[in-house]
């Protein structure tokens, strides 16, 4: 984009190890050519990394004993099958023995196993620096009853740059429920990538909760769906100082189905950007995107969604919705729902709405004796909670609902 490289770009170059692999070098060169994205790059207009990332923290190294001890301390007891990463590195000794469960295999992942992701500078940067991610394989036809939880933790040194890069694969007809808990609470910089590939007829419920991330963080999720595969993915983002979470989805097989949803609850000076590009690359695919934002204080919410339908993807059915509640005069919302359509026999639509809490609804509750603060909570909860219906897994749905109630309970919504 620009010929001038910012300070941050130079620093990334300095962090690149001497023994860098040729493929990593290639990715890095690609990143440098595009430059650190900022306001002048259309797809990054609302999340200006160039001003946000002035200095690049030191690289995080594979966790040592001290880091593991810190991470272990953060882990709470759980019934879920846990898969733990520390600073983006897979930590088998902290994880449950997942491979013992029939149908699941977990191993370190190599660069060759990833499928091609989207063209995005931050994804290139991730590919150049990442090491030590995992490959989670669910066997053909396997039905996993227990929820698999990916727990992303940080080690002792919090002010670091982290580049997790992992892959989840479901064989044909497999079914699973995955919860990702990102509890990294660090001051540094994060640029992670998760790849999800579903075989034919596979079904995955994937819920991700992000709370109290700190510093500057970019999360990229690349999704590839084979014929008739279904992915239901829901994100709950809260109190994120500067987060960009982006989904690049390819509906590659006929009849694939995608449900993408999310609730974004922000206050303080928080900034969260949900960006998604959904490519309907095969006929008769269905996609539904629904996102709700609740913005208080000086929070800044961003939604960018794009549905792309090439000429051969006839019978495409795509619908995208984004709604935002502004709770304070200083909060701001920017939404850009796009359609890019080259096929004629399609039904595509999008909607976007920005409002404040409805005075009449508040009044209704108050006349029935509900205190003002309580009434606000009820309305906000009702506004946001229905995005979780995108999930089929009741366990995950309840979990996110509880999380949302906790979030709304602990903070007095600004009025």
């Amino acid at each position: 984009m620009t010929g001038l490289s910012s300070k941050a770009e130079d620093e990334f170059g300095r962090l690149l190890p001497a023994d860098v692999t040729p493929s990593a070098r290639l990715f890095f060169d690609q990143f440098q050519r595009a430059g650190l994205p900022g306001r002048r790059v259309e797809s990054w207009h609302y999340s200006d990394l160039r001003t946000k990332l002035r200095a690049v923290p030191e690289m995080a190294h594979a966790p040592d004993d001290a880091a593991r001890a810190v991470a272990r301390h953060k882990l709470e007891a759980s019934e879920r099958l846990r898969l733990v990463t520390v600073d983006g590195f897979f930590a088998p000794d902290l994880s449950d023995d997942i491979s013992a469960v029939a149908g699941i295999d977990i191993s370190p992942v190599g660069e060759a196993e990833f499928f091609g992701g989207a063209a995005d500078p931050m994804l290139d940067l991730n590919a150049a620096f990442s090491r030590g991610g995992f490959l989670l394989d669910i066997a053909v036809g396997a039905r996993i009853d227990r929820v698999i939880e990916i727990v992303a933790l940080t080690g002792a040194e919090t002010d670091r740059s982290r580049f997790g890069r992992s892959l989840i694969r479901l064989g044909a007809g497999a079914r699973a429920e995955i919860l990702e808990t990102r509890d990294e609470g660090f001051a540094g910089f994060g640029d992670s990538a998760l790849f999800i590939a579903l075989g034919e007829d596979a079904q995955l419920d994937y819920a991700c909760r992000c709370r109290e991330t700190a510093g500057v963080e970019v999360q990229t999720v690349n999704v590839m769906l084979a014929a008739r595969a279904t992915l239901r993915a829901v994100s709950l983002l809260a109190q994120t100082p500067f987060l960009r979470r982006q989904f690049f989805v390819s509906l590659a097989g006929e009849g694939a189905e995608l449900k993408l949803a999310g609730a974004v609850i922000l206050g303080r000076n928080d900034h969260a950007d949900m960006t998604m590009v959904v490519h309907h690359n095969a006929p008769a695919c269905v996609s539904r995107e629904i996102f709700k934002y609740v913005l208080g204080d000086h929070a800044n919410g961003v939604f960018q969604g794009k549905i792309v339908v090439p000429p051969h993807a006839q019978k495409t059915d795509g619908k995208m919705m984004c709604r935002a509640l502004l709770l304070s005069d200083e909060a701001a919302m920017s939404a850009k729902p796009e359609l890019e359509i080259f096929a004629d026999d399609v039904a595509c639509g999008h909607g976007a709405a920005v409002t404040k809490l409805d005075a009449q609804q508040l009044f209704y509750l108050e006349t029935r004796g509900v205190p003002h603060i309580e009434a606000e909570k009820i309305l906000i909860d009702a506004f946001a909670a229905d995005v979780f219906d995108a999930l089929e897994s009741e366990v995950l749905r309840d979990l996110l609902r509880t999380d949302l109630s906790d979030l709304l309970g602990e903070e007095e919504p600004a009025s």
Partner: protein, 489 residues
């Protein structure tokens, strides 16, 4: 589906080869040499005997333009324009004072007759109740004849070429020119500021309701002449004006650049209604030779309770880059944008609007209908923005696209930015072909498939057609309805 096929066929009749306005008038014209530099800017200014401040204004714009880059963000693709290979000034010969129709070059009148432009007595269109239309006809760059000036004068309305207004009403021109679209606004607007040829100037005094619809016809005639119209409309407190703009252009081989600037200013309680039917040459079936239409249109609702309404029917041009916008500065002001954009052949349209809510209790409404056929690309790009202080800003946006054929594209790129919690923005967009459900619903009630299709397509654009003034609705329907409502008759 037979009915859809018929719609496809009828749209094809609109195809570029069928462009019936492709002829050139053979009259002598007075040109500046090719190319663009300070001397040309001075030459244009001198030819128009402009005051010094305006010459300086143009030169400042030109200097600024040299430092700017051509924008590339729109979804349009065209060969690089060589700005030094264009003529920047061309005036029909003998323009020193045709006062009556008889004085006008008969060749020119015949051209207008071919275009069906109603001059003087022809202004009352068949079937329309007796209304008067004042026509400020623009032939290439200089306004040749202005009718109904006297009657407008009685009401106090000033309607004249801007080159004349510079001399007759310098205080108004100087006060308002460039106050909505600043000289530095964008590449094409800056170019226009440097070399603008002519255009219309309208001033409606306080409390006056303009007694007739004002209209202007643009026609690009001279080969290789960039056309740089500049329109300035001011509606003073409590006034109302409706302005119609229609365009046709002759057929030729080389691409032509058109970079107009339109500025509207509505003061307290004033209302401006600006309607456009654009039917410039879209190029041949391979997309060669069409007009490049890079227009900056912006209205400023400067006063409280003012209102600006844009209505456009876009069927022509090879490349359209056009975003008629409203700055809602006054409290309780209102902006409206109604658009039908039809693309066919190899046309590329990137059009939409901007609604910038700055004042309190402002409202806006956007209705955009895109129809793509052939191998065309049709993009809606719009921004709705509420400033932190824009309390109770309200917007409703609806953009629908209809695709006819599988080689065209329809795209929607809305930007919704709210920085005020009391803002209420709603946006909806759909892209589809004619819905089977709707067809079924109509047929269930006894309509034939063809009638049902006609009804649905008709309904698809009706919201916008209804906004056009009567005179224009006729022309607009001639232009698009032949194809889209063709299955009715």
């Amino acid at each position: 589906m037979a009915a859809v096929q018929q719609t496809v066929d009828t749209v094809k009749t609109l195809d570029v080869d069928a462009y019936k306005y492709g002829f050139t008038t053979d009259i002598e014209s007075d040109k500046a040499p090719k190319g663009l530099n300070e001397d040309i800017v001075r030459f244009i200014s001198a030819r128009k005997k402009e005051p010094d401040w305006l010459t300086q204004w143009r030169l400042d714009a030109f200097k600024r333009w040299l430092t700017m880059e051509e924008p590339r963000w729109a979804r349009v693709d065209y060969p690089k324009i060589d700005y030094q290979d264009l003529y920047y000034y061309s005036a029909p010969k003998g323009t020193d004072g045709p006062r009556t129709l008889a004085d006008v070059d008969p060749e020119l009148l015949r051209t207008y007759a071919k275009l069906g432009i109603p001059l003087s007595e022809q202004e009352i269109l068949a079937g329309v109740q007796e209304r008067r239309v004042a026509v400020d006809a623009v032939f290439d760059s200089v306004s040749v004849v202005t009718t109904f000036k006297e009657e407008l004068g009685k009401a106090g309305v000033i309607f004249c070429p801007i080159s004349e207004a510079v001399h007759s009403h310098p205080e108004l021109v100087r006060k308002y020119l460039g106050s909505v679209v600043p000289v530095t606004d964008n590449y094409f607007a800056t170019l226009n500021s440097a070399v603008f040829s002519d255009g219309s100037f309208v001033y409606v005094p306080p409390g006056v309701r303009c007694p007739m619809e004002l209209s202007t016809y643009f026609r690009i005639n001279e080969q290789n002449t960039g056309q740089f119209e500049r329109t300035l409309i001011i509606a003073d407190a409590g006034s109302y004006v409706s302005y119609l703009e229609g365009c046709t252009a002759p057929k030729r081989d080389e691409n032509q650049l058109h970079a107009a600037v339109v500025e509207l200013i509505a003061l307290d309680d004033a209302e401006i209604k600006y309607s456009t039917v654009q039917n410039w040459y879209p190029g041949d079936s391979e997309g060669r030779g069409g007009i490049f239409n890079f227009v900056t249109k912006r209205g400023d609702c400067r006063g409280a309770r003012s209102k600006i309404s844009w209505t456009q029917v876009e069927t022509g041009s090879a490349i359209t880059w056009k975003y008629p916008s409203c700055i809602l500065r006054g409290d309780f002001s209102r902006g409206e944008f109604y658009s039908i954009a039809i693309s066919n052949g190899r046309q590329q349209v990137d059009s939409g609007t901007k609604m910038l809510h700055l004042g309190k209790n402002t409202s806006s409404r956007i209705i955009s209908k895109g129809i793509s056929a052939g191998r065309s690309q049709n993009t809606y790009r719009g921004q709705v923005f509420a400033h932190r202080k824009a309390e109770n800003a309200r917007n409703f946006t609806n953009c629908d696209s209809l695709l006819i054929g599988d080689r065209c594209g329809a795209h929607t790129v809305p930007y919704i930015e709210a920085k005020n919690s009391s803002a209420q923005f709603e946006h909806e967009a759909t892209t589809s072909k004619i819905s089977d459900d709707q067809l079924f619903y109509c047929m269930q009630r006894g309509l034939e498939a063809e009638e049902a299709t006609a009804l649905i397509v008709n309904g698809f654009v009706r919201d916008v057609l209804q906004q056009l003034p009567m005179e224009f609705a006729v022309e607009a329907q001639k232009l698009i309805a032949i194809s889209l409502e063709g299955s009715v008759g």
